[in-house]
Amino acid sequence: MQRSSVLAAEAASYRKIVAAGEYWVDVVKRDACLRIVDLEGNQAADTLLFSASDPADRYSIADTMRAQRNVYLSAGSKLLSTAGNVLAEIVADTVGRHDTLGGACSSESNCVRYALDRMTMHACRDSFLLALAEHARFGLTKRDLTHNINFFMNVPVTPQGGLEFADGLSGPGKYVELRAAMDVIVLISNCPQLNNPCNAYNPTPIEVLIWDR
C-alpha cells in the first residue's frame, strides 16, 4: 500500500548519501523516523535491524511475514524480532511492495547463482561484515547477520510456489520510511549486485534521512 510521508526533507536532523557498494550503520532512537530514498530508481537497500539494548533480539523475516500473513512489506508492516517484539513500523512507502525473502547477495551465493568465477565480485554480505568490523562497539559478528529486508526490490511469489526476480516497482525519488518502536541498530548495505535486475544492472546511490522525535 502506498502512503506518503508528512515529514519535510528540509526538517530532517540527519541526511547522508550512501553510494552503491557502501554501508550505513547507526542507532536510530525510539520514535525517530528513518527514510531511505531510492535516488535514481531500481536500487536495492539490504537492511537489518537489531534491538540496541539486546542485539540478540533482531529482525526476523519469518515472524514478520507470519504475523501479517503476507510475504511483502509495505506501509503498515510491523518489523518483528525473533522474540516477537516490534522493532519498527513502515509508516510511509511510495513504492508499494518490498521483498524480505531474497536475502543479501554474497560472493558464495553469486558463485552458485551465476558462475564460479564470480567469487571475487563485491557483495552485500561483504559490506555487512566490514560494517561490523569497523563498528565493534555494537558487539555484532557474522553470527548476527540474519536474513534481511530488500527495500525497493520486487520478488514475486507465484501461486504454484515459484519465486521470480522481477523488474523493480521503484523509481527515482521513491522512498520508504520507518518509525523505530525502540532504540534499534540499523545496518544497510546499498547493494552492489551486477548480475541481476534487482538494481537494473546499474547500482546507484541511496539517501538516508532521520527525523528525531
Binding site: S106, E108, L145, V157, G161, G162, L163
Partner: protein, 244 residues
C-alpha cells in the same frame, strides 16, 4: 533412492525436539506416521558453526518458494548441506518460522509440565533454543527453518494460506547429506496450523548410508545452480577437515 543399511530408527512423538550430528553420505528419512506432521529443522556445519542453513539463498538460487524433490538445502557459504532425493508430499515450507510460547498459549492453551508432564504444549522456538544450546549456539544463531510436511501457499497479493491436509499418513521425505551437518529438529506444530487442539503428530526417523551424488544425479541436474553448488561442496570436502 533406496535407503541402504538402515543403522538407526526412532519414533519422535509430536511436540518434542532432538538433534544429531550427521556425516556426509548419511541418508535421513522422515516419515509422517499419522499425517499432518510438522518437522522444524535447522542445519549447521559442525566444524564451523558460523556456517548455517540459509533459506533465502536456498530459495533464490532455485527460483522456488516451496521445497520438494530435486531441491538442495544451502548454507550461507554456497554449499549444500543436503539434497531432497525423495518426497511424496510435494510442498514443504521454509519461510514461516516457528510457533513460540505466546502463540501456543493463545491458540491451544499453555499446558505446563507441572500439570501435564510430557503432554505439555512445547513450542518450536524454545525447542530450537534448547537443542542449539547443547552446541554452544543460542538466540543469535537462529535462522529461518524448514517446516517439513507443511504447506503455505501465496496468492497474488502475497497473502499466506496454510494448506491443511498437505501430508497424508505415511508421507516421507529423504535427505541425502552432502557434507557433515549438525541437525536440530522439533516436531512442534506449524505456527499457522489452525487445528482446534494442539496437533501432536509423531514422526519416524530412519538413518542409513547412501551413495554420493552421481554425475547424472537428479538434484545435481535439476537446476544449473545446483551443479555449481555440488561442485563447491565437493571442493570443500576435498580441502577441509571432517569431510567424507
Amino acid at each position: 533412492m533406496s535407503i541402504e543399511a538402515i543403522f538407526h530408527e526412532a519414533l519422535i512423538e509430536g511436540g518434542k525436539h532432538w538433534s544429531l550430528s550427521l556425516r556426509g553420505g548419511t541418508l535421513l528419512r522422515l516419515i509422517d506416521v499419522n499425517g499432518g506432521a510438522n518437522v522444524g529443522m535447522l542445519l549447521y556445519n559442525p566444524h564451523n558453526l558460523l556456517e548455517r542453513y540459509n533459506a533465502p539463498d536456498t530459495l533464490k538460487c532455485q527460483h522456488t518458494f516451496k521445497l520438494t524433490k530435486g531441491h538442495c538445502l544451502y548454507s550461507d557459504m554456497g554449499r549444500i548441506f543436503c539434497s531432497i532425493v525423495e518426497d511424496s508430499v510435494g510442498w514443504h515450507d521454509t519461510v514461516c518460522g516457528n510457533s513460540n510460547k505466546a502463540l501456543v498459549a493463545q491458540r491451544w492453551g499453555d499446558k505446563t509440565y507441572q500439570t501435564c508432564r510430557n503432554d505439555w504444549t512445547q513450542n518450536g522456538h524454545d525447542s530450537f533454543l534448547v537443542e542449539a544450546g547443547k552446541y554452544g549456539l543460542g538466540r543469535r544463531d537462529l535462522a529461518a527453518n524448514v517446516n517439513w510436511f507443511s504447506k503455505v501457499s501465496i496468492d497474488d497479493t502475497g497473502a499466506m494460506t496454510f494448506g491443511s491436509g498437505n501430508s497424508p499418513a505415511g508421507a516421507l521425505v529423504d535427505l541425502r547429506f552432502e557434507m557433515d551437518s549438525l541437525v536440530l529438529l522439533h516436531t512442534c506444530p506449524h505456527p499457522l496450523n489452525p487445528a482446534a487442539e494442539y496437533p501432536r503428530a509423531p514422526v519416524r526417523v530412519q538413518l542409513g548410508r547412501c551413495a554420493p551424488a552421481a554425475a547424472d544425479d537428479y538434484c545435481r541436474n535439476s537446476h544449473p545452480e545446483n551443479a555449481r553448488g555440488m561442485e563447491l561442496t565437493e571442493l570443500y570436502r576435498q580441502c577441509a577437515r571432517g569431510g567424507i
